[in-house]
Symmetry: C2
Amino acid sequence: MKKLIALLIILSAWVTQAQNQQQEDSLTIRKLYDLSLLQGQSYPWLEHLSNKIGGRLSGSLEAQRAVEYTKAELEQLGLDRVWLQPVMVPKWTRGNPEYAYVQTQEGPSTVVNILALGGSVATPETGLRAKVIEVQGLEDLARYGRPQIEGKIVFFNRPMRADLIHTFSAYGGCVDQRYSGAAEAAKYGAAGVIVRSLSHKIDDHPHTGAMSYGDLPNNKRIPAAAISTKDADYLSGMLKLNKDLDFYYKMSCRNFEDVESYNVIGEIKGTERPDEYIVVGGHLDSWDVGDGAHDDGAGVVQSMEVLRLFREAGIRPKRTIRVVLFMNEENGLRGGNKYAEEAKMRKENHIFALESDAGGFTPRGFSIDARDSQHEKIQSWKPLFKPYLIHYFEKGGSGADISPLKNGSTVLAGLRPDSQRYFDHHHAATDTFEAVNKRELELGAATMASFIYLVDKYGFDDIQNEEEILK
Amino acid sequence: MKKLIALLIILSAWVTQAQNQQQEDSLTIRKLYDLSLLQGQSYPWLEHLSNKIGGRLSGSLEAQRAVEYTKAELEQLGLDRVWLQPVMVPKWTRGNPEYAYVQTQEGPSTVVNILALGGSVATPETGLRAKVIEVQGLEDLARYGRPQIEGKIVFFNRPMRADLIHTFSAYGGCVDQRYSGAAEAAKYGAAGVIVRSLSHKIDDHPHTGAMSYGDLPNNKRIPAAAISTKDADYLSGMLKLNKDLDFYYKMSCRNFEDVESYNVIGEIKGTERPDEYIVVGGHLDSWDVGDGAHDDGAGVVQSMEVLRLFREAGIRPKRTIRVVLFMNEENGLRGGNKYAEEAKMRKENHIFALESDAGGFTPRGFSIDARDSQHEKIQSWKPLFKPYLIHYFEKGGSGADISPLKNGSTVLAGLRPDSQRYFDHHHAATDTFEAVNKRELELGAATMASFIYLVDKYGFDDIQNEEEILK
């Protein structure tokens, strides 16, 4: 009987402690949201990055200004350390505005909207004019074969599927046309490629993005451009009427030698376990059209805001929390690779990394790349997020920049904002500050800070120990 | 033993049946989403309502055109019946564009952006010029009293709280200033009222909306206007420097006698229980500024789309499904009241009503006004919505137009889209077609259709029966 009473006392003390913890967590999270929504810094930071600096392609003056600006801002936050991590990045320039038109024998020419894909070679100085063959994907190339492709411009026109709820899945189902279209079409003797813009929206804005020639020798490389969805529909319609039309385009883009740039890093040293690292980040570079507010200015300022919110809320983390603003996600991932490489070299134990690189829209939750037991632990925190309408804690990919940290034990996660509007703006002139809503951005920052707070407080090592015992 | 086997057979048959039902539901819902996203009609309908017709204030030519257009479109859908339900509505016109400025003794005057509140009387023809007293809400009036208020313009400046996650709660916390500000201030001898626009966004767009003089006699009514948030901040700042500044405004709005208008109604007769009604609706009228695309063009076209999707998917509902496009939600609720009144008169048994009147943004779920048992039944359908990221099924209000149907047994619900951007557009010139995203609108329509499908299929009468047995 005495034993039972003792057990009950212990049990009740344990329950009380758990309740107290939950209440403390709930209050801390509320404080983080309040600070972000009432005295947030993410929106003015984004305004500066977007409007005062603008598009920040790797190797550009704007990218360098963004490095300097974010470093200076992080230095104002009273972090324990702020520094630059040098990294060599590719440099590509768009040159003069692209120019393209469709020409039929009988009719006048019709100007269409294109953008060179990042990394593309230029057309000849006088432009490239050729017949067009429309295909629905890389797999069509083999079907048509060299006789029907040689000397022509291959027009990749498979649209993003509208029935997929997750727009990133629709993007994933088409992006091979943009990334590898030129390399594959060149093997069949194509003169150039035009790729339907990766957007659900039918409008006049072409969407650029990275492409690669793989190991194709320089003299085999053909120019590659994105065409707006509206003009893709137009071109496709015209081809149905007249297979013999000509497409003309002119681009003066250029690849240079790699140049030096930087990841920008700031950290708050952990009080109990300074040698365990938690990373939160986004990428500082963007495409050169628009101002990169959603991709990924939002992720940059939200990540900076996480550390500021910790400071303002008076949270002293147990572990070392690092904000990393990665350089060159868009066309090389050099910053992400460099960070992981040096972390490995220094044997830094990263327990968690979180990236925000899916736009500054209303946060819905997180996509989590972790073992089942780690994922379950994270899911146990779900009720704490319910008041903020954060409901998505599913297994999946995290973020490009943090993916090189993947090692089987580090938990990786990506913020998942509402994705319906994202590809209306992605890599296009419509990715501007005005398209970001202040509250949505701030909710994202608070959601990230809350997640990091819980990871720092509870960690994952109880799970690791349990798993080791089970072995 | 035999009995046990028989029981197991029955049980397993029951489980199989439940699984089959669930699979059937899951496939039907997928079909509804596919039809909405791939061959949806809601977006072109909204384009017409917004751009070809425009703002549709009750009693206006545009409202009449909207009645005719939506009736004609419903008639194309092959419904069993489409008709107009006459209803008398108030008629108020804005008149000439409003004009207002702030004037200090020493400096030049500064023009500020205002909009007459709906129902307001005009200023004198030469405008109204007076000193200003800033207050933070109706409760401040008694504190200042007649000596400090008489002859002045009362400036209600309590802003919407930014820390509330549900923006409708922030709206609810301020809307009394707009609705009753003039009636209350007039009791203290105020000359007029200016109300801070109900928006989180700091910009130049004033947000209009309904107001009421209550039982104030005509000769005591004072003019009431909304001022943009930016100009509210400006005016408040100026008042801190100089309490003696003058505010001038001129408005020529006017109230007329009631005029006849209509609710537009269409229905599909139920195959098994034609005398049980399920209503889905939004309101056809809107404010006269902007084109009312979010409020509530979106709800109108989504509700029409629900019936079209049923037709396209080949769903023959057991119960009678009605789309009701209500007239005059904004400044009178006459359409909602009329519909409920006639339904009651005809003893029509409404088991469910769903309204979409919270914008055409990404749907998150439903707010449900129902008894616990009914709410629990609805919550049991949650897993069917998970693939569509629909997660919110909480108790709460439904929609203004369907609220007169409330009787203790009819289940009422409101679509709950993401609310973060809603008040940037609500009742302002920024409520335009361009602010509505096609996919978000279509997801909302499919979500509504799926909910209606489940309510029609399963109903609530098993619960009613259970409850009656328990009595």
